[in-house]
């Protein structure tokens, strides 16, 4: 059986298992969910180890006819890009389950439903990255919204229903635009060699399109991904959703789901519409730079810790988008690595923020103070996550952020320069909450907060380990990513700019 299909089936089986456990055996349910996610994580690592990074074509492929008359297949496969993201997803899943052990309490529905939703979501997370059939991708892309919608609306806090709706409508809108583009592709493929949704075959279709068509189809895809990512000014759903969702859901939302947007930009926007990508690059670069700065400023102005993290993500997604459209090896690899790293550093931030707010009963930064002395481990976890978020060298995000900047600078120096100001703002948006919440005198109400318990420590430790390890030794991932990004650029017909002052040599 195909490794990827197996990976996708496992969580489904797990959710069935969860479904048959009686409602009152909550612990069993949680154990089953955790066990499943761990199993998936292990299989993810196995796939990673068996992956041949020198090979740029899709591996672990499987293709089964699904709707043959439309040329639709259930087709999966991974290249370096998708492998990294799948790996991130499956590694984060058990952490989310473990970290949010009690998140399902206080929801509208039982714990069982919560874990079923999480597991179903995990299947989709794998599927969305593994799909090599555009239709399959789209189906999962849209279907994913449903479990997330219920996770936010059913288990979140505050204005959860409104936030869930906002999220869903935004995403659906984008999805529908993408549907229009997919239909366009489908029709064009039908005119040129038969209906197909195979990504490889579709990537040749741009030869048959007028530039207007290509631009329109590109926009359909790009807007959908820009909403997902989210790129300014299509971002306003994110802070609401992240602020309302449970920390675990937020991790999956920002860490994994939003990556579908940037992943899609590489996999679909660039691969399918190379000329349009070039046409729109200036605009997209501008939006990305605005996202970086704008997100950072809003993060600085945020008073709610979860919203703050959401805004930082907007800034980070700006970096990723910028890296992608810089069309250089460094930019691309950096962006891909950034996706992975952002997943982990945001996970750490959200999980710790979640624990903080669960203990304090508030998400307002001003309500905290002096946590470093009361709950040192929790404070440290937050601090390290924050350092990673501000791209401190030695932590994982630095490598990717710097690669993006360097990669962008070689082609778009102005964008890179403006974006670099983001790193100063990053220092502010991380250190302000650190100062307010962790430092300073211990404010009333915080004196007796308990520190992380063993379960929480076990949950956060691997995240921090990954953050640190990848900061010093990113090669295991870069080795996988590099050939894939090089392949994309080669298809695009881009070569890295040669150093301008040594061109003569």
């Amino acid at each position: 059986m195909n490794a990827l299909t197996t990976m996708m089936l496992l969580p489904i089986l797990g959710s069935l298992l969860v479904a048959v456990i009686p409602n009152d055996q909550v612990l069993r349910i949680k154990q089953a969910a955790l066990g499943t996610t761990l199993l998936v994580a292990i299989s993810g690592v196995l796939v990673w180890m068996r992956f041949d990074s020198a090979n740029t074509s899709f591996q672990f492929t499987q293709s089964v006819a699904w709707i043959p008359s439309f040329g639709i297949n259930y087709a999966v496969g991974v290249d370096g890009l998708s492998l990294v993201l799948i790996l991130m997803s499956v590694l984060l899943a058990p952490i989310v389950v473990l970290a949010g052990w009690n998140e399902s309490e206080g929801g509208r529905w039982s714990a069982k439903v919560f874990y079923i939703l999480i597991l179903v979501l995990e299947t989709m997370m794998i599927g969305v990255f593994a799909a090599t059939d555009v239709f399959l991708f789209y189906v999962i892309f849209e279907a994913m919204l449903i479990p997330v919608y219920f996770l936010i609306g059913g288990y979140g806090s505050g204005e959860r229903a409104a936030a869930a709706v906002k999220f869903l409508l935004y995403s659906l809108f984008g999805g529908l635009l993408m549907l229009a583009s997919i239909i366009g592709l489908y029709v064009i493929s039908g005119r040129n060699g038969g209906h197909t949704f195979d990504i490889t075959k579709l990537s040749e279709m741009h030869n048959y399109m007028s530039s207007t068509t290509q631009n329109l189809l590109f926009l359909g895809f790009f807007i959908a991904f820009a909403i997902k990512a989210p790129v300014w000014p299509l971002h306003t759903w994110l802070p609401d959703a992240a602020a309302s969702a449970t920390p675990g859901t937020s991790v999956l939302l920002l860490g994994v789901l939003d990556k579908v947007g940037t992943f899609g930009m590489i996999r679909f926007c660039l691969a399918l519409f190379p000329d349009a990508s070039k046409t729109f690059t200036p605009i997209i670069m501008t939006l990305a730079v605005i996202s970086i700065i704008y997100g950072a400023f809003l993060a600085i102005g945020a008073t709610d810790i979860k919203r703050l993290i959401a805004y930082t993500s907007i800034s980070h997604f700006g970096f990723i988008t910028m890296g992608i459209f810089a069309m250089t090896a460094q930019g691309h690899s950096g962006a891909t690595l950034y996706m992975f790293n952002h997943g982990f550093s945001t996970a750490a931030l959200f999980l710790v923020a979640g624990w903080m707010s669960a203990r304090r009963g508030s998400t307002t930064i001003a309500d905290f103070g002096g946590l470093q002395r009361v709950t040192p481990v929790m404070a440290w976890s937050f601090f390290i996550a924050g350092m990673s978020s501000l791209a401190l060298p030695g932590l994982s995000s630095f490598v990717s952020e710097f690669l993006v900047l360097v990669g962008t600078f070689t082609r778009y120096p102005v964008a890179a320069i403006i974006a670099t100001f983001g790193i100063v703002l990053a220092a502010l948006y991380i250190l302000i909450p650190v100062q307010k919440a962790l430092h300073g005198p211990t404010t009333p109400g915080n004196e007796n907060l308990p520190d992380l318990n063993l379960r929480e420590k076990i949950a956060i430790a691997p995240v921090i380990a990954v953050i640190v390890a990848l900061g010093f030794y990113p090669s295991p991932l870069l080795n996988v990513i590099n050939p894939a990004s090089a392949h994309v650029l080669e298809l695009q017909g881009f070569t890295d700019p040669t150093p301008s002052d040594s061109a003569g040599k």
Binding site: P68, E142, I146, R160, L168, L172, L176
Partner: protein, 505 residues
């Protein structure tokens, strides 16, 4: 002039004849059977004749001829598919209709009178609904197969008259129900006058009243275009009225709301199949070569219909009215299949009709179950918290709504995809764009209902979910399963449709 004795192909007419026979037996039962046994025997006869009709249809599914009834009926693949859809929907609807809670005890009694009260107490039943249903089904079966204008007109009336009557039979809020019957009847008659005038002009144009004859005139170019155009326009008014396209839609919200819910479901689902079947046949067979004349107008109507239906549905507070507007929007989507004027458009339309019909019956089935002491609760605000009261029911309804919204993994998505791609393939970009945008608007109100059901707390106002009868359960669950299967694995049906759907001339 020699009299040619008519030859009828009874095997091919059997589906219609069986249903008619069932209806006549039903009338006889009304006349002669003792009251106590009427209900069960009527139900049995109805189901039996529908199933038998379906069996007869299956037996001749591969046949195809133009002279099944002296040229009045074209028996072909598309017809078989449409008839099959209508029969399946009819069977499911009959299960709903069998729940006599929906119907008045004595239609002739004045609402609120002593007579009505005693009729209710003595448990009288309007068992005439069953033969009426069968008559309507017979008309619907004939409608899309009609290959001359007389048969078309007769079939239109055969299917309409029972529906006018059935609309007025609601048990509760009878004034509304009667009002809906009156409106439906008057406007229906009004539009069929247009239809008849259209027939007259088509006849005037070509000298023939068979679809093939008209087609030949169109191809031959004999005759006057003004007459053709007038004919097409007026016939369209009649047909578009039946499917509820803007601006001929106005009856549908009122009638949907006023009619007994089971009838509404039947009417919404089956009539749409039949009417679109007829539209498809007449446009594909007769008017295909005069595409230039009607396509622009049809595109405009389709777009207005989609947008109008979606936009107005947003503001509805009654679930049945909301579904009515949703059906208007869907009529717009379905019109794109007509506009496509291609094999794929035909396939897509038939698939869409079936999928939509099934989901509609299921959705209305659920509407019948939400009640308070004075009958069904239509007010959406009182649906809030339904997910808490009855999670399975609410989830199923959500599934139908998602199907209407065209979310992947539901039948609605496959339908939407195929019909829009067919439209785009034939060059109607504007349809695609309008479709996508109105889908986005539509998502808004479907999701609003889901939010109400799941994310709002129940209002204690006596609203409750009754335990469905076995038959209703069958209807709802079959609809749900079909909706899901057609979303996940539609290939067999699509292939079947692709191989079968053909209009013979």
């Amino acid at each position: 002039m020699e009299f040619i004795s008519p030859v009828l192909n009874y095997a091919q007419l059997a589906p219609i004849l069986i249903v008619l026979a069932g209806a006549l037996i039903g009338v006889l039962i009304e006349a002669f059977a003792p009251r106590a046994s009427r209900f069960s025997s009527q139900l049995f006869i109805t189901i039996f004749s529908l199933v038998a009709s379906f069996a007869a249809l299956v037996r001749v599914r591969n046949e195809s001829s133009t002279d099944a009834a002296m040229g009045s009926v074209a028996f072909d693949g598309a017809g078989v598919l449409l008839q099959g859809s209508i029969l399946i929907i009819a069977i499911l609807s009959t299960f709903l209709i069998a729940d006599q809670e929906n119907f008045t005890a004595l239609a002739a009694s004045v609402p609120g009178s002593e007579e009505e009260r005693t009729a209710l107490q003595t448990d009288l039943r309007v068992t005439e609904v069953f033969p009426l249903t069968l008559f309507a089904v017979a008309g619907m079966l004939l409608f899309p197969l009609s290959s001359d204008l007389i048969t078309l007109f007769v079939a239109l009336e055969v299917l309409s008259l029972p529906l006018y009557l059935m609309a007025g039979l609601a048990r509760r809020r009878r004034l509304l129900s009667q009002e809906s019957a009156l409106k439906y009847f008057l406007l229906g008659a009004f539009s069929s006058a247009f239809f008849l005038l259209g027939i007259a002009y088509l006849y005037g144009y070509s000298g023939s009243i068979t679809l093939v004859g008209i087609q030949q005139s169109v191809v031959g170019g004999a005759g006057n275009d003004v007459f053709l155009l007038l004919g097409v326009a007026f016939v369209s008014v009649g047909l578009l009225f039946k499917v509820g396209a803007v601006p001929f839609h106005a009856w549908s919200p009122d009638v949907y709301q006023g009619a007994p819910t089971a009838v509404t479901g039947f009417m919404a689902a089956a009539t749409k199949v039949a009417a679109f079947g007829a539209i498809l046949r007449i446009f594909y067979v007769s008017f295909a070569n005069a595409e230039w004349s009607w396509k622009p107008a049809m595109v405009v109507i389709a777009i207005i219909t989609m947008v109008f239906g979606s936009a107005v549905a947003i503001t509805q507070r009654d679930v049945k009215r909301m579904l009515a507007y949703s059906s208007i929007a869907h009529a717009g989507f379905l019109l794109s299949g007509v506009i496509a004027l291609s094999k794929s458009g035909l396939d897509a339309s038939i698939f869409y009709l079936f999928a939509y019909g099934i989901a509609t019956v299921g959705a209305f089935g659920i509407v019948t179950l939400v009640r308070d002491s004075s009958g069904e609760v239509g007010d959406l605000n009182r649906w809030s918290g339904l997910g808490k009261r009855s999670p399975i029911l609410a989830s199923t309804f959500a599934l139908f709504l998602l199907a209407f919204a065209g979310i992947p993994l539901t039948s609605g998505f496959v339908g939407k995809f195929s019909i829009f791609s067919a439209a785009y393939e034939s060059g109607s970009t504007s349809i695609l764009i309008a479709g996508v945008l109105s889908s986005a608007i539509a998502a808004f109100f479907y999701i609003r209902v889901i939010v109400l059901m799941f994310f709002k707390d129940p209002v204690e106002d006596g609203t409750s979910v009754v335990i469905p009868s076995a038959l209703t359960t069958v209807t709802i669950s079959v609809s749900a399963v079909v909706t899901l299967i057609l979303g996940v694995y539609p290939a067999p049906l699509i292939d079947f449709i692709t191989n079968t759907a053909l209009f013979i001339r």
